[in-house]
């Protein structure tokens, strides 16, 4: 497989005029490289991985779900809502994620997020209360009890 990668890298260097090229896995390991003498493959790979992940921290709020608070109608009466804010509020239904609200409202990310945080601050909406939580492992009651007594005994 690596041989094929070299061909692609060579071709890339020829076409782009770059000095060298490294194919890097997501965790920053070099898979294949064509580099000028003296360049350290591992260093270049680690730097590449660092640069690539700089742009997008995974900790983003796009997956969040909000719901209208209990007395949202009272609050909404007291504050003057602009048309686009009404649109966003309408889309807050306990099911739509932030990314869905952005998509359906056709508003920009920034405006939607700012509006949602404004709503959150004045209590019109709240974070979805999770009813369902999921365990990523099939724990039995028996095993859980074992873990509990083990920890108590440490």
């Amino acid at each position: 497989m690596a041989v094929k990668y070299y061909d692609i890298l060579e071709e890339f260097i020829r076409d782009s005029g770059a000095e060298g090229a490294v194919l890097v896995s997501v965790d920053g390991l070099a898979i294949a490289s064509v580099l000028p003498a003296g360049a350290d493959e591992d260093r270049v790979a680690a730097m590449g991985a660092a640069i690539l992940s700089l742009g997008e921290r995974k900790i983003s709020d796009y997956g969040l779900i909000f719901e209208k608070s209990e007395n949202w109608e009272n609050i909404a009466k007291k504050v003057y809502l602009l048309d686009y804010e009404k649109k966003v509020l309408h889309l807050v239904d306990g099911k739509n994620r932030v990314s869905d609200i952005i998509y359906h409202s056709k508003l920009s990310d920034l405006i939607v997020k700012r509006t949602l945080y404004g709503f959150l601050a004045c209590g019109i909406i709240q974070r979805e209360k999770k009813k369902e939580r999921k365990l990523g492992f099939d724990l039995t009651r028996n095993l859980l009890n074992k873990i509990i007594s083990k920890i108590k005994g440490l």
């Binding site: 997501v26 965790d27 920053g28 991985a49 660092a50 992940s53 700089l54 921290r57 995974k58 900790i59 983003s60 709020d61 796009y62 997956g63 969040l64 779900i65 994620r97 959150l120 974070r127 209360k129 999770k130 369902e132 939580r133 999921k134 365990l135 990523g136 492992f137 724990l139 039995t140 009651r141 095993l143 859980l144 074992k146 873990i147 509990i148 083990k150 920890i151 108590k152 440490l154």
Partner: protein, 177 residues
Amino acid sequence: MAEKKIKIVVSGPYAAGKTQFINTISEIETVKTEAKTTKEGEKEKKDHTTVAMDFGRIKIDDEHTLYLFGTPGQARFDFMWDILGKGMVGLVVLVDSTDPATFHEARRIINYFESRYPAPFVVGCNKQDLKGAWSPEDIRTALDLGEEIKVLPLVATDKENVKRVLLELLDEIGKYI
């Protein structure tokens, strides 16, 4: 027989006490992958930071081992968060109670896991031994957490404290079996 791993993730902002928490409770010396910090701001708080991740393990029986995984701090290791989130049975989110500037980051971390891997979680308000530590109730308000979430006082250097937080989490986990 293949060992079965039961995963608990320990997360929180930089310097919240994740490495300390895992060290205090682990049976073996924690496998640390620390390196000298290079960023200027980070140096003031401590001179080592967790580069990839740290984990501790506690053998439960011949078949099962409990793993505590700390989330790495640097953005370039964000891909690890998904790997850790998948398959965890529970999450401990630590905050440095004396450093309100990091509470916002803690909230974002909770958002991250809540929207992707909604396992049971508890919040540990760490460094309660220090002057100026915010109370758990004030931290609950700052993080906008409902009454259904446990927000617990913690001194991560103290074993009994760490045990209590883990037992509270296991109690939460028990509600979903």
